[in-house]
Subunit: 137 residues, 2 copies
């Protein structure tokens, strides 16, 4: 099983911001430290801001920062948010997929429960457990 | 999060075989019923046989069938087997990935625990819970 790189980058951004929660980070700074394209990071930051996990400020000294304390951001909720468009298997996709077994399938419910168990397990922790302090940003 | 289509197809094959556990299925029959390429199914069946979940017989009346009762095949073990090469995030890959945060990251362990929780949740059930009886094969 695999998380999207979108989610992976989002988690990296949040961990870095948690290390300096009162500081605004520009996309350029994060791109340099994480060695990820600005384009990708801009999309991730936009999604996190839309979900009210980040606040963004324009202009000089602007950038993005956490909208709440790292202790108040649960890891599972972050992953569930960033993976919202990602179907665990074909039949979980919006169109219902092409699996010929779907009408009779009893595995779907079990997979959905297991996915929920994954998120619930992550929700035992918060971003405060995964703080990274970047030097040199 | 997403499972590979390899795993998805493997689960479909096993569910069908569980419906007629004493019957040998050819790759051609499964390809027709599941509307999946023979090439993909042959690779999946080969992996399942290598893991002693299936037995294969050559020649007329040959094919593949379950090597043990559906009750003795746990769903999480199947998924763990088929996803063995699939890294949850970049840094779980064999080469260690390219994430600049890896040396200081405390999220990795949490993600590994959540992945284990996913498999453990699936292991509450067996293939016997997900039998599909194909008609017309």
């Amino acid at each position: 099983m695999r998380l999207t790189s979108f989610t992976d980058f989002g988690l990296r951004v949040l961990m870095c911001m948690a290390g300096q929660p009162t500081r605004a980070f520009t996309t350029a700074e994060l791109a340099r430290e994480l060695r990820v394209s600005r384009h990708h990071l801009a999309k991730v930051i936009s999604r996190l801001a839309a979900a009210n996990l980040l606040v963004t400020r324009r202009g000089g000294g602007g950038g993005a920062m956490l909208a709440r304390a790292p202790e108040a951001i649960r890891l599972g909720d972050v992953v569930a948010l960033l993976e919202a468009d990602q179907a665990l298997v074909d039949c979980f996709a919006a169109g219902g997929g092409t699996c010929t077994l779907t009408p009779h399938c009893r595995l779907r419910g079990r997979l959905a429960e297991a996915e929920a168990a994954f998120i619930a397990d992550l929700n035992r922790g918060t971003l405060a457990d995964c703080v990274i302090r970047l030097d040199g940003v």
